[in-house]
């Protein structure tokens, strides 16, 4: 399943309202984009889904259960995250994959890496020596190694050069085609049209538009992205 419901979710930081009473539903098996101008609160909202942060008020539900009633470590295994910049946390590529899945067998690691377009030869490479695009793919494989039901994607291609960005996006599209639930933060209307099924448009922390991507004015040129 993995359906998220947001009920009157607000986030206040240092007296500023970053997210303002957002209520929405994230449908399972689909890719939902969070779009809007920078500073609209997209990334802040994304961090609530795996409880890297908690809302100041309001609730998030995963399949009907309030997030703070679930075991947070279990929740984070169900809801994986790929950040904006690739962040390496271990010495080698295979150790990266084993960070969240210590039992991961070598064969399975190779499979996962192949799925994100990383050659077998890189398995034992030091993770510090990877290019930006390779590192971001390893981050994706690392998230997949935990076998999440939902993938949070925080501008996953924005820090990459155009060629690497295109390739990573193609990999992501392939994964989404397999029915993984995804929540994508993106500032590119084209990318949202290519990748997402639904979109939530945020402006100044408020939800101003939501629905299937093709019906959203903001990503179809009317809102001016």
């Amino acid at each position: 399943m993995s359906r998220f419901d947001l009920r009157e979710v607000s986030v206040r930081r240092d007296g500023h309202l970053i997210i303002d009473r957002v209520s929405a539903t994230i449908a399972p098996g689909r890719c939902t984009a969070l779009v809007g101008p920078s500073g609209a609160g997209k990334s802040t909202l994304l961090r609530l889904f795996n409880r890297l942060d908690d809302p100041t008020s309001g609730t998030l539900l995963l399949d009907g259960a309030e997030l703070d009633t679930l075991d947070v470590l279990e929740l984070r295994r169900r809801v994986g995250l790929v950040g904006q910049r690739p962040v390496m946390v271990a010495a080698t590529v295979i150790e990266e994959l084993r960070t969240g899945a210590p039992e991961l067998e070598r064969g399975r690691a190779v499979e996962l890496l192949a799925r994100v377009g990383i050659a077998q030869a890189l398995v034992d490479r030091p993770s510090a020596g990877l290019s930006g695009g390779e590192a971001q793919r390893v981050c994706l494989a690392r998230a997949l190694a935990v076998e999440p039901e939902v993938l949070l994607l925080d501008e996953p291609t924005s820090a990459l050069d155009p060629e690497a960005a295109k390739a990573v996006e193609e990999t992501l599209c392939g994964l989404l085609g397999d029915g993984l639930t995804a929540i994508l933060v993106s500032h590119s209307a084209e990318q949202v049209r290519r990748m997402a099924d639904d979109a939530l448009v945020l402006q100044g922390g408020r939800l101003v538009e939501s629905g299937p991507v093709r019906e959203i004015a903001y990503v179809n040129g009317v809102g001016g992205v």
């Binding site: 795996n50 409880r51 890297l52 942060d53 908690d54 703070d68 947070v72 470590l73 279990e74 984070r76 295994r77 994986g80 995250l81 950040g83 910049r85 962040v87 390496m88 946390v89 960070t99 969240g100 981050c139 690392r142 998230a143 935990v146």
Partner: protein, 252 residues
């Protein structure tokens, strides 16, 4: 009276050394003369005051008074070391607890085994050394902890996002910061006697005790200080790490 210990006239004469320094500083317009006078006067007044307190403790307050004095030192040390962890949630509480744990364990073991006497004239100065060593280790540990949590925020959160618990997500950083915090103590322990004659030993030798006795005392003091520093650093890292994260394993 032991001829090696200065009389009060000797103390008065040693003021002339400070006077020389002040005159030089003043003639060369270093802008330090006033500072030197203030520092010298402060040190004198503080030592007179401490001497008076110790005299009172040793003669009237007994062991409970000695431990009360020690507790005051722990609180002051906690405040000082806690400032090094500015930005950490409840850093002064963490620092005070770390210093207290290190002092209690170290002194407790020494007293329990009868290595040092449980008399105020021993507990207060030896406790002072322990608290001071623990304070330094705690301060460095907390400063590194805060710096690491700030600088490595993305890495720590990446591990949390993979479902690692807060202790697991922070473990590699804990290792690094403990190493950094303890290197100064370990280095100075390695070269003890080669580069510097430590305070306790110097004091004993000056007071006319034979070097053979002085080194015995110094060895105990040194091991005690190493233990105090390690325990303080461990306690500060552990308690500090708990303060870095919320109950929901979120980095604050």
């Amino acid at each position: 009276m032991n001829p090696a210990v200065p009389e009060w006239t000797g103390v008065a004469l040693s003021v002339s050394l400070v006077a020389v320094a002040v005159v030089i500083a003043w003639r060369q317009q270093l802008g330090l003369a006033k500072e030197i006078v203030i520092a010298a006067v402060r040190a004198g007044v503080q030592l007179f005051a401490v001497g008076a307190v110790l005299l009172f403790l040793f003669q009237h307050a007994g062991l409970p008074g000695g431990f009360a004095w020690l507790a005051v030192m722990v609180v002051i040390a906690g405040q000082v070391a806690g400032r090094r962890g500015a930005g950490l949630h409840r850093s002064r509480y963490v620092a005070t607890a770390a210093v207290a744990v290190a002092a209690a364990v170290t002194l407790g073991v020494l007293i329990l085994f009868g290595v040092v006497q449980s008399a105020p004239r021993v507990v207060v100065p030896v406790g002072g050394m322990v608290v001071s060593g623990a304070m330094q280790a705690t301060g460095v540990t907390l400063a590194r902890l805060v710096a690491e949590a700030r600088g490595q925020r993305a890495v720590i959160e990446a591990r949390l996002a993979l479902g690692l618990s807060a202790p697991a997500a922070f473990a590699p950083h804990r290792r690094e910061l403990l190493r950094t915090a303890l290197i100064p103590t370990l280095d100075s322990t390695k070269v003890v006697g080669l580069i510097s004659l430590p305070g306790a030993m110097t004091g004993l030798i000056l007071a006319g005790v034979s070097p053979e006795v002085a080194i015995r005392y110094q060895i105990v003091v040194m091991y005690m200080l190493v233990a105090a520093a390690v325990m303080a650093a461990l306690a500060a890292a552990e308690l500090g790490r708990r303060m870095l994260f919320t109950g929901a394993q979120q980095l604050r």
